[in-house]
């Protein structure tokens, strides 16, 4: 009941004229940036961070919520019309959605994606509103040693579930941890990896790293490989509307997608790749039109899109309740909080309760605004794709450089951004996933802090790290995640060998 009242207060605050204005601006900008090919929600938020440097925390967070959902809407439009998913979560949408667009059903694909995202987003945000406070209550009892285990688990799942190569994921994580080390140690003041550079003592800012590794890295990579290739926009005939048949085939996948996406967002399962894939697989198995899969089945758009949005809302639960981001996008939102000296975690609902309820209320509002705005405006967004590629990349790079400099008005941050841009290029060239690096950079210092706290409490006894039941369970899961793929591979190999023998 108290949750409900707080939520109503949140709505009252979010619906003030100025906050509503920031919400509208956020949905507009979020969609605008999200529609651009190759830009996922994480980069969209990172690029738009500078806009919020000077506005009040409540307005900024409202804008973020709007940008967050807006960028996801934009991303699905690009996947369907261009077949260039901006992030791993829209890969599945592109699969069937692009085929639908080719068959002249772009309108229905866009509509089921938008309405499905709205349905999933609304349900998931409602669950978030009513579960996050109780999870935060539980989380207060989570000790430093448990946090260490939780973070290690998040590292492991994100590194080994993303991308095709487990070891490359872990190397990416380690490089992120190295970046997180730079600067003065918080407890002893020891300058680590600064090599006498005064500016480096403050540590490496996360904003330049994030915009650089995505935007500058992508620009360098595309310039060196695919600069000649253009893209072909599929024409959209008619309006973004669904027939009665489309509704009938979409509503169950929306609900199933929500049911798959939300819980997988709450546990650190490595972002939106797994839930969208699972939802796609489920729909493919349950469909009454199996012959359409692979040729533009509407269920294959409705399910994964809903799963993607529900997953994004689910990821906010560990972020708000534990301060633990489980995806690149959640990591960027954590950075946004920290810009305002707000540290998400168990005490957040006590210390900044009003702010959080305003944020949750604005998630509902942003979601509704998007549905109302985007379906009629989809043609306008499509026009945006006609901007020639050279201009598009030039514009993105300018925004990234602006954000890096404006944060502290310092050229050191620009130097970091350029260096990280080159790292981003190399990571793309050599097939290393990027999300683990970002998570390592942001959570690394946090991990060290909790590790030391745990050992201080136990007076140096390392046994404390796995003394609690929760930490024991987490370490078991961790080993399964690390060894699982290897064992699975071995089993396959043995099976293959047996197969050869019997032949």
């Amino acid at each position: 009941m108290s949750s409900f009242n707080s939520l109503l207060d949140g709505f009252a605050s979010a619906l003030s004229i100025s906050n509503l204005g920031f919400g509208l601006l956020g949905t507009f900008l979020g969609t605008l940036v999200g529609v651009l090919p190759g830009i996922g929600p994480a980069l969209a938020i990172a690029l738009l961070l500078p806009i919020t440097y000077t506005v009040s925390p409540a307005s900024a967070l409202i804008m973020f919520a709007a940008i967050y959902y807006g960028a996801m809407y934009g991303g699905s439009t690009t996947s369907i019309l261009l077949n260039t998913p901006g992030e791993s979560g829209s890969v599945m949408t592109a699969l069937e959605g692009n085929k639908m667009a080719r068959n002249g059903r772009a309108g229905a694909a866009l509509a089921t994606a938008a309405i499905g995202s709205f349905v999933a987003g609304t349900i998931a945000t409602a669950i978030l509103a009513f579960t996050a406070p109780s999870i935060a209550d539980l989380a207060i009892k989570v000790g430093a040693a448990d946090y260490v285990a939780l973070m290690l688990l998040a590292f492991t799942t994100v590194s080994s579930l993303l991308g095709s190569s487990q070891i490359r994921g872990f190397i990416s994580l380690a490089v992120g941890l190295v970046l997180g080390l730079v600067g003065a140690d918080l407890q002893s003041g020891l300058a680590r990896l600064t090599f006498g550079n005064q500016a480096a003592i403050e540590g490496i800012e996360t904003v330049p790293v994030i915009v650089a590794i995505f935007a500058l890295g992508e620009a360098l990579y595309i310039a060196s490989r695919f600069k000649e290739e253009g893209w072909r926009i599929l024409p959209m005939k008619g309006k973004a509307l669904m027939s009665r048949e489309d509704w009938k085939r979409s509503w169950m996948p929306w609900l199933r997608g929500t049911a798959i996406g939300f819980p997988l967002g709450v546990i650190p399962a490595g972002g939106s790749e797994v839930p969208t894939f699972l939802s796609y697989a489920v729909e493919k198995n349950l469909t009454k039109h199996p012959e359409e899969f692979g040729h533009g089945a509407i269920e294959g758009v409705a399910g994964p899109e809903a799963a993607n949005n529900a997953n994004a809302a689910g990821a906010l639960v560990p972020l708000l309740a534990l301060g633990l981001p489980t995806s690149a996008t959640a990591a960027v939102i954590l950075v946004a909080f920290q810009t305002y000296q707000i540290q998400p975690g168990p005490t957040l609902f006590l210390t900044n309760g009003a702010l959080i309820w305003t944020l949750i209320a604005s998630l509902f509002i942003g979601n509704t605004l998007l549905l109302v705005l985007n379906l009629p405006l989809v043609r306008l967004w499509v026009q945006l794709l006609k901007v020639p590629r050279p201009y598009l990349f030039a514009g993105i790079v300018i925004f990234a450089l602006l954000g890096s400099y404006a944060l502290n008005t310092s050229t050191f941050d620009v130097q970091v951004a350029i260096a990280i841009g080159v790292v981003g290029f190399l990571f793309r060239r050599y097939g290393m996933p990027i999300t683990p690096l970002i998570l390592g950079l942001i959570l690394g210092p946090n991990l060290e802090l909790q590790f030391r706290r745990a050992l201080q409490i136990s007076a140096g006894d390392y046994g404390t790290l796995y003394a609690t039941p929760l930490s024991k369970v987490l370490y078991i899961v961790l080993f399964v995640v690390i060894l699982g793929p290897t064992l699975w591979g071995l089993r396959k190999k043995i099976a293959n060998r047996k197969g050869h023998v019997t032949k």
Binding site: I51, L181, P388, F399, L402, T411, G421, Q456
Partner: protein
């Protein structure tokens, strides 16, 4: 032993990450801890991370030698890997450096315009007049909306007084 195409450059890359691990190790080893009584020394984490990074790189190095080479983003496993076009790569990189050098000397508008132009050239735009024209409008719009409406300070540089 014949290495698959692209393996040599990947070995160099993984080797340099190994060197990064060595650098972290060396920097940690040579630094002196302030006279504090700490339960966990500030050296524990750097040493740990350096060792993990070096071990992982060594394993990957061996795997690459055995043929497990990386799939560049946007390609499918087994696709032929073209040589990177280092000419356009250099133009983009030079444009980024131009921004770094010019931002505090010439101001945001000039620096951003040079970078904008450089990147359009790298991406194969031939109509240079147009790109400067559109770039200038775009950058002026950004400059005015950020400084006037959002109160984010950006250096005016040599255009001070005009803007």
């Amino acid at each position: 032993m014949k290495l698959p195409q692209g393996a040599k450059s990947e070995l160099t890359f993984v080797g340099s990450l190994f060197a990064l691990g060595l650098l972290v190790f060396w920097d940690t080893a040579r630094s002196e801890i302030p006279a504090f009584n700490l339960t966990v020394s500030p050296k524990v984490f750097p040493f740990g991370i350096a060792l993990v990074l070096m071990t992982l790189c060594a394993i990957l190095f061996i795997r690459i030698l055995r043929g497990d080479i990386a799939t560049p983003e946007g390609l499918e496993p087994g696709d032929p890997i073209d040589k990177s076009d280092y000419k356009t790569f250099s133009i983009v990189l030079a444009s980024l450096f131009a921004y770094l050098l010019l931002i505090e000397r010439a101001g945001f508008v000039v620096a951003a315009l040079v970078t904008f132009f450089g990147i359009t050239v790298a991406f194969g735009n031939k109509r240079h007049g147009r790109s400067i024209f559109f770039g200038a409008i775009f950058i002026l719009l950004i400059y005015i909306s950020f400084t006037k409406f959002l109160h984010v300070s950006l250096p005016a540089g040599i255009l001070k007084g005009i803007l």
